[in-house]
Symmetry: C2
Subunit: 185 residues, 2 copies
Amino acid sequence: MAWSEVHKQTSRLKILDSAAVLFMEHGFDHIGINDVMQHAGLTRGAFYNHFSSKAELYREAILRAAKVSSEGVAKQSNGCVKTMVDTYVDVNHRNGTAFRCPLAFLTTDIHHQDDDVRNVYTQIFKRLLGVLSQGDTNTLAPEVIEKSILMVGSIAISRAINDEELAQAILKTCRDKVKEGFESA
Amino acid sequence: MAWSEVHKQTSRLKILDSAAVLFMEHGFDHIGINDVMQHAGLTRGAFYNHFSSKAELYREAILRAAKVSSEGVAKQSNGCVKTMVDTYVDVNHRNGTAFRCPLAFLTTDIHHQDDDVRNVYTQIFKRLLGVLSQGDTNTLAPEVIEKSILMVGSIAISRAINDEELAQAILKTCRDKVKEGFESA
DNA sequence: GTCTATAAAGGGATAGAC
DNA sequence: GTCTATCCCTTTATAGAC
């Protein structure tokens, strides 16, 4: 690959990483192209050499955030599902430290977006169902669905409310409930 | 009360009802003052005789939507908690027909707002905990928290995903789970 | 490939007539 | 109290120099 090609790919990834962090934290409408490019160390004009629109950036940023998020969880949990749940349903996730799962950070934002974005969200949710079903082919078993809603819902709702004590209680309760039935490492 | 006073209160309520519907359905950023006023049958210029800012309107609209929502649920359920859950965790709620609970429709929008808005959201959530605790003073019992997350989370997440079949499965599973332990009417 | 400059559109808020 | 007209700022997207 030529130098200019490498340079372009590097810039693209920087833009994508910045977008992933900023969109998850502040939502689609509160982040402009300018914010993303400044965070990436570039200027606004260069954006359209990498993405055709803000909407396209959003789609790719969600996938990027999901990748970073699932890799971050996997790294800490070493394949143990109970530890994975502990890492996901945690105050550090709620506060946006380390990683930010788009399922929980963008829940209601997604409903206002077009079908392309909603498809991406749906695919990521189905991946979570796959992980929770633990090899069982029935990803729609009641326990699997219930646990997925508790995981995503507890993070999303604990982020919305303005009461630290209640937020902590929500996280602890849901964390314990989701871990029920999984084998210890 | 003088005629002009009555007129003003009538206009104010029309604005508030329009704002409640539009904000719940499309979110804070996708609805302008103009949209709200047109929906209410008025023009933009008249808005600031009733509210001092868009943010103030948002706070009041959330409270209004919560009131409409809880009254709508109560009306259909006649005091029976199981029926209340059936009405709330339903595809008609998911699709925004009839009523729209701000807890589930604005979950991630709220995190981006100021403390006043987040306080309102938190108070509404605590009211739900009170209803689910059924007179028991311990609104932070694990079952109460768990049920509240399943109710709000199932509506919020089923609205985000783009797969009708999965959405229906989520609603049915969570509805059944939340009803466990409550007495039939 | 990245920069500066600018076009074009949208929306919050205010002024003043009636 | 409600209307029309307007100010002003933000933001997406494009044009053209280097």
